[in-house]
Symmetry: C2
Subunit: 187 residues, 2 copies
């Protein structure tokens, strides 16, 4: 198959859509972000690439804590609305019912079936975005979205994001088991 | 819905499965990784959380270049096999037909419908893994997987990964358009 060269685009995708939560001026604020993912296993560290001018980002820097919430298709309109409006102009405190975990200043969203509260452990600045590294302190999952005590991904049903088509997507069918399906393969 | 607290797990998921490519001792080497994602938009930077003892990781550090390749379900067995075997013991040069782009030492996989070649621009060490930040220099896409000159995600059909169930998954249905579907929402 002929390969076509493209100029650089953010095409290592899809990424999970995450609503990043932080307290700003004593109010919970949330923004959707797609440049969010795990980068370290032990301790669990999540990297969030955010423009530092975002209202949510100022809350992360001020408090040193934030949350990562995974919305599903059932709240896609509210999720997208949070990306269309800055917390500087719009009060986001009423969009979602929130709950607190064990950390201060890491508001989490009840309507998200999985949420994690994080401690900011490092930042790395790039020309456009700053990478906020959060060590995951605790994860909260809907009781109905657990199977044998672990996240049941078809029930959590996280939204995924692609670019440049700006698509929100569902998780599809399970293909195979990792560290297993390749055992019978011979190069 | 009742929330259950879990100890930290790498649950900001799913993540795309990526085959990371590097030259080691003049041979192409590939390893599947899931802790890989975009963290900066301009320039495009991809963060890869890899254990630095991996054979592929030594190639990244030595050459300062690497590739990120997105496998689909059609090559899930070969992808998984690369994760079950180290390049120190197994010759991975014969697993995939490769091609070169404009950078040296960034072998890419023909069977992956999307591949990116990257320059290593920074590393950040965490206790388990090292985060390798790569600036994307060029992206290569199968001609048939482009729509209007951009990646057509249902055709690229990247594999996704979840934990702790160790699942490989397909991309599912498109839900909505970002920066759009929330326009009619009112909190």
């Amino acid at each position: 198959m002929k390969k076509i060269r493209l100029d650089p685009g953010p095409f290592v995708l899809p990424m999970p859509v995450a609503l990043i939560g932080a307290m700003v001026d004593d109010a919970p604020n949330f923004m959707p972000a797609a440049f969010v993912g795990i980068v370290n296993y032990e301790p669990v560290v999540v990297a969030c690439g955010l423009n530092p001018r975002h209202h949510t980002a100022t809350g992360i820097s001020s408090n040193g804590t934030f949350s990562v919430n995974l919305p599903g298709a059932d709240i896609v309109e509210a999720t997208d609305w949070c990306g269309l409006h800055s917390g500087r102009q719009a009060d986001k405190g009423d969009v979602f019912e929130t709950f607190s975990g064990r950390l201060e200043y890491a508001p989490m969203i009840k309507a998200c079936r999985l949420a994690a509260e994080c401690r900011l452990v490092k930042t790395v600045e790039f020309p456009a975005d700053t990478v906020y590294f959060g060590e995951v302190a605790n994860v909260y999952v809907d009781e109905a979205a657990l199977k044998d005590g672990a996240p049941d991904w078809p029930v959590i049903a996280p939204l995924l994001f692609t670019f440049p088509d700006k698509g929100y997507w569902k998780l599809g069918d399970r293909v195979a088991q990792a560290w297993s399906v390749g055992k019978g393969y011979r190069p």
